[in-house]
Symmetry: C2
Subunit: 332 residues, 2 copies
DNA sequence: GATTGGAGTGCAATCGGTTGCAAAATTGTT
DNA sequence: AACAATTTTGCAACCGATTGCACTCCAATC
């Protein structure tokens, strides 16, 4: 069915090499044969088989996009941006859905079998060792939304989660809240750990402020709602909550309003991510914006540059986050 | 870096064919050599290059997953299910983000270059001709969430959108609403056209009921909100709206509550899809459930069966939809 | 003990391309 | 017009696998 090099060569009356060269830029072909070849190619509807080409060039233009989070709406934005940006760079995303699996070996084997040029691990929950496994297998990798480390052995592009915790704390203090709480995602998620540490660290300087810490089982609406319901039933709730994720925040929000409490009058909530839904007028969540697009563009640019220089010195690229003021925190 | 067949053969002291045969099931190899090969393979960490294999077997186990909708949260569920199910079948999704493009030619060329085994077009807005282009190119294709046609030339798996329109109409009538309205997505979307036609058709039998029809520019929150705001300003709004999509409904919902009207007392709304968010307690949207998982499993099974029988007679698989009662429609 | 048959093996061609190298064609120089 | 320099070209090997075919074993049968 598919047209091959050979057929084009025959029709054009040239060698296979000639055809190949007209389709690889930088190769030397005379205008005359190029024209002949192009004519034959369009007539036959030929376009080179990238996978066969990859066998010799060792470039498949395939990038593994691995993620363990297909439930948080923010990831739809992430996939959208990634696929667009990769397409702009002439690359194709091969999607890997981790779904619970945390052992990198399977993914490494799999992506090696497809000889991907590189891998993007898009996750704020997986440990750095996960991405490291790709590097060890000789596959260029960048960990997007991952944990920044002062001694990184793998490229990380994302935000400074510790600093985000600080920002949240400062924002709540600035608005005069005296009894704060941290509502995290899974305790094992690196992003939750870091946001916790920044939040609590910032509060060290404010001993008069009361704080409490809890975690929910997942970055999900239900987890946030359930945890907030529990908090509202047992003991006295805090004045303001930093929920380590938007979807968690919205779950918490729903629990608060269900309990006939008002936001932000009775309880304040600040989230993190600024996913599209947070801006919907019937949600209207005050949150800390993570610059998704910058992170993704930068990730792709980084992986592209690694294709030419696989041994590139590991680097962390962090983007600043800013508070987006909406309706779930009272005025200062 | 990567280990090849040849190296394994040398280490095991057998021919390359022998190695190849131990890795393809159904091939004849003695236990003795199989053991030798397996030992060498695990020692070297070998696993066959699927792309090179594909050159001769004409099977890459790659499935193109093309979509034009990376903004509707329902598609995150769609991607999740698709990747899982494909993985279960030993296939890999190659993601294509159409982003505005409606001409199939580019996608066809692209996916042909990667010699995908098949293509799933996941879209409720693209016309059947889009999928047809893949078929014409000799690539097995199924159109998931696409338009059912009585003379399909391409496999379609999804719902009967016309029937959904009817269901919506019946549901609103059953609840005693007298002044209804249809709020569609883009007029060019096949799903909107079909839902419209079912809705209006059902109302033909109820001449006493008043109906009006409008469309919004996209299946998005903002489009739904803007359109509903317009409706509330100009003229008198209907008693109940069938919004042809959940995200549209939620936008409309936000406009209604912003106008200090109550749902469902003043205005009723029914959506379509039943995406996860619709069930969130602070949204609580009454909607028509589309059985995503069944559609996707069936789509993948269909594409798998086409791998063995590419000429398979085109078929439409439709799944019934049901009303999920929540809080945006008044009791009958 | 010779014959038959089936299982197991390796050779070599092939899939659809790329690329080093040497030969051929073109261009420029005198 | 002869020669050198440069560009174009095709041959053939190779990328990492599979597979038809012929060949070798070895056990079973007569």
């Amino acid at each position: 069915m598919a047209v091959t090099l050979k057929e084009v060569a025959e029709l054009a009356g040239v060698s296979r090499s000639a055809v190949s060269r007209t389709f690889t830029d930088g190769a030397s072909v005379s205008d005359k044969t190029r024209r002949k070849v192009e004519k034959a190619a369009t007539k036959l509807g030929y376009s080179p088989n990238i996978l066969a080409r990859g066998l010799t060039t060792r470039r498949t233009k395939l990038i593994g996009l691995v993620s363990d989070n297909f439930h948080n709406p923010i990831f739809l934005e992430v996939f959208d941006q990634f696929t667009r940006k990769l397409q702009d760079c002439g690359l194709r995303p091969l999607l890997v859905n981790l779904s619970d699996e945390t052992d990198p070996e399977n993914s490494v084997r799999l992506l090696r079998q497809y000889s991907v040029d590189g891998v993007v691990v898009a996750s704020s929950t997986l440990p750095p060792e996960f991405s490291k496994a790709f590097k060890d297998a000789g596959i260029p990798v960048v960990n997007s939304f991952g944990r920044y480390s002062s001694t990184p052995n793998v490229h990380v592009v994302g935000i400074d989660n510790v600093e985000c915790g600080r920002i949240a704390a400062r924002e709540l203090i600035k608005r005069g809240y005296k009894r704060l709480a941290f509502l995290g995602g899974p305790e094992t998620a690196t992003s939750t750990q870091d946001r916790y540490s920044g939040f609590s660290d910032e509060l060290l300087a404010h001993p008069t402020i009361e704080v409490s810490y809890t975690y929910s089982g997942a970055y999900s609406f239900k987890a946030g709602r359930t945890e907030m319901q529990r908090l509202l039933e047992t003991g006295s709730p805090a004045e303001a909550y930093f929920c380590a994720d938007d979807v968690l925040s919205i779950g918490a929000l729903s629990a608060v309003t269900d309990a006939d409490l008002n936001v932000p009058e009775d309880i304040g909530i600040i989230g993190l991510n600024d996913m599209e839904i947070a801006g919907w007028e019937n949600i209207n969540l005050t949150t800390i914006r993570q610059p998704i697009q910058q992170i993704i563009n930068s990730s792709v640019e980084l992986i592209v540059s690694m294709l030419d220089d696989p041994g590139r010195y590991p680097e962390a690229r962090l983007f600043p986050c800013t508070v987006v003021e909406r309706g779930t925190l009272r005025a200062p």
